[in-house]
């Protein structure tokens, strides 16, 4: 017989009470592990999404974005433009590794749905754009080679909607021009899945936007100081600098503020669970007063009794913590679905990223909380004087 075996068996005396207390701990462990996993997953997903854009800085033309949004949604040409010469200017910066020019144009198609909708086409450079997006793979065909060609590459979902395969024609409404599909991409899990890519010069010509761009993607050298580059770019006339790093930071700040609140709630759940632990163990000590007195009469030192009661708390929290973390793993995908439903923006990929580190940390926290909660009941039990305990039992 040892103290830990006695402690475990003591917990089995009141199975329902033990189960309920462990259940409370499991719930708070589940919340804690899921939140920590979400925090990690969201950050990783965000980094991945932004990295998948292929460039760290995006230049767009200066202008009111609300106006641009409205005009875009209503149909086509209200976007602000930058001159192509900005490419040369940007390339003069030593931090810049690559740039890729983009021209987006939207066309109102009255034959999409009851009230029509905008069909958007993204003009990209045949040479510089594909290397920026190495993760894009083709289901059929390949990228266009010539910037002037009347050819199109469709993202997976765009192709599915239009039932297009390589060799099919695509009709651009409004201007009544045909382009040939030369490539259909595989599903990438990014916004590119819904994009129709055309060669940039072709877009400029088709929509009379020669020499103009709506965006310039900038890939920065690995060790370069992005902030220094951005500061210089701010000085360029008529352009806006959209830093993915800043966007990332902005989004993460938003998520972090929500996270602080949610972690606070998780903390409260933990405290409540620990209060339940104190209550359960203390009640158990009170119920066993005489028994503890007998143990002392058998030769149990105060430290032995303290260790025994403390071990009960540790076992309870260990079991509850393990169950809660196990539950977090099992329900990770469900939690993800719920988060995606409620959040306005959620990156692709696993949102709840549980791993050994997170599980270990959550488990450690629960256990530490439990051991802290167990201190008082264990101390009370250690202080029991054998005779008083037996006497109280006798009076009962």
């Amino acid at each position: 017989m040892n103290i830990y075996a006695i402690a475990y068996k003591n917990l089995l005396r009141k199975k329902v009470r033990t189960a309920l207390t462990a259940g409370g701990i499991a719930l708070s462990a589940w919340v804690l592990a899921t939140l920590l996993g979400f925090n990690k997953g969201y950050q990783e997903g965000l980094n991945r999404d932004i990295d998948n854009m292929g460039f760290q800085v995006l230049l767009t033309a200066k202008g009111c974005p609300y106006e641009a949004a409205t005009l875009m949604l209503k149909g086509g040409t209200g976007l602000r433009y930058m001159p192509e010469s900005v490419v040369k200017t940007v390339f003069q910066n030593p931090e810049v590794e690559k740039v890729t020019p983009m021209l987006m144009h939207g066309v109102f198609d009255p034959n999409k749905g009851e009230n029509g909708a905008v069909a958007a086409y993204l003009g990209v450079d045949a040479v510089s754009f594909p290397p920026m997006k190495p993760y894009l793979e083709f289901k059929q065909g390949a990228w266009f080679k010539d910037n002037k060609a009347l050819e199109a590459v469709l993202g997976y979902e765009a192709a599915e909607l239009e039932t297009r395969e390589v060799g099919d024609k695509l009709l651009i409404p409004g201007i009544d021009r045909e382009v040939t599909v030369v490539g259909v991409l595989k599903r990438s899990g990014t916004q590119d899945d819904g994009t129709i890519f055309l060669p940039i010069t072709a877009v400029q010509k088709l929509f009379n936007r020669e020499g103009l761009l709506t965006g310039l993607g900038i890939k920065v050298k690995k060790e370069a100081d992005i902030t220094a580059l951005e500061n210089r770019l701010y000085d360029l006339p008529d352009v806006q600098v959209v830093s993915m790093a800043q966007v990332k930071t902005t989004i993460m700040n938003l998520v972090n503020s929500a996270r602080v609140i949610v972690m606070g709630i998780a903390g409260i759940a933990l405290i409540i669970a620990m209060a339940g632990v104190i209550n359960t163990i203390l009640m158990s000590v009170m119920e066993r007063y005489a028994e503890i007195g007998i143990l002392k009469s058998m030769g149990a030192m105060p430290l032995d009794v303290f260790k025994m009661i403390w071990a009960e708390t540790a076992i309870l929290c260990g079991l509850g913590g393990a169950a809660g973390i196990g539950l977090a793993f099992v329900t990770a995908r469900l939690s993800e679905a719920a988060v995606r439903y409620f959040l306005p923006y959620a990156p692709n990929g696993a949102l709840v990223a549980l791993d050994g580190d997170i599980s270990g940390f959550a488990f450690g926290l629960i256990l530490a909380g439990g051991l802290l909660s167990g201190l008082y009941p264990a101390w009370r039990a250690a202080r029991v004087r054998p005779l008083e305990a037996i006497r109280i039992e006798g009076e009962q």
């Binding site: 875009m72 198609d109 009255p110 765009a158 039932t163």
Partner: protein, 201 residues
């Protein structure tokens, strides 16, 4: 400001795309009321050939259609959206859509059907064609009203339209007219397989 631009770009890029693989009504509340005036509600179901009979069903449908399922997007596991239309507690009809490959883009053809399978209304939700305006016109659409699957029995995709079908193709419709007919016949066959034959049993 920058955050907004970022979101705008993300949101604006796939202007025409939705994640739908099947064929859903863009605004079911509005469209059901329009296609079935007097209805009080609807329920949405998703069916596929794979889930409703698999390879055997596919072969039967192809035989009845007179054409094979083709290409990347016409497969056994495509989900078909079926709307059961209610008046009170009674089912008064159905709305069903299919996606058909057209000359320049996907064509979404919806049929509103009465309980017996007669076409009550014809609706092209999406179409990219030089004859789009004419193909989506009321004049073209009313040609399909009161038709049934039986009327399409002698029609085969790609072949000229013959009696008893009397349907006029708009000028400039080209291959898209044939595509629309194929979509209608496929729609009716699938409805027969998914709903009407089962009811008889």
């Amino acid at each position: 400001m920058k955050k907004l631009i970022f979101f705008l770009l993300l949101a604006a890029l796939p202007g025409a795309a939705s994640a739908a693989v099947g064929c859903d009504l863009n605004d079911p509340d509005r469209d059901v009321a329009r296609l079935f005036p007097g209805s009080t509600g609807y329920k949405t179901r998703y069916l596929s050939i794979k889930g409703s009979g698999g390879q055997l069903l596919l072969e039967r449908v192809e035989k009845r259609l007179g054409d094979k399922f083709k290409g990347l997007y016409e497969t056994m596991d495509v989900p078909y959206t079926l709307y059961d239309i209610y008046k009170g507690k009674e089912v008064i009809g159905y709305i069903h859509g299919v996606n058909q490959k057209g000359e320049y883009g996907g064509i979404q053809v919806f049929l509103a059907l009465e309980r017996g399978g007669t076409i009550k209304a014809f609706y092209i939700q999406k179409l990219t064609s030089r004859a789009a305006k004419d193909l989506r016109s009321k004049k073209f659409g009313t040609q399909f009203e009161r038709l049934t699957l039986k009327d399409f029995e002698r029609y085969s995709p790609g072949k000229p339209v013959s009696a008893p079908l009397k349907l006029e193709a708009p000028a400039k419709a080209g291959k898209d007219f044939q595509a629309v007919l194929r979509a209608v016949k496929k729609n009716l066959i699938l409805m027969d397989e998914f709903v009407f034959s089962k009811k008889e049993k």
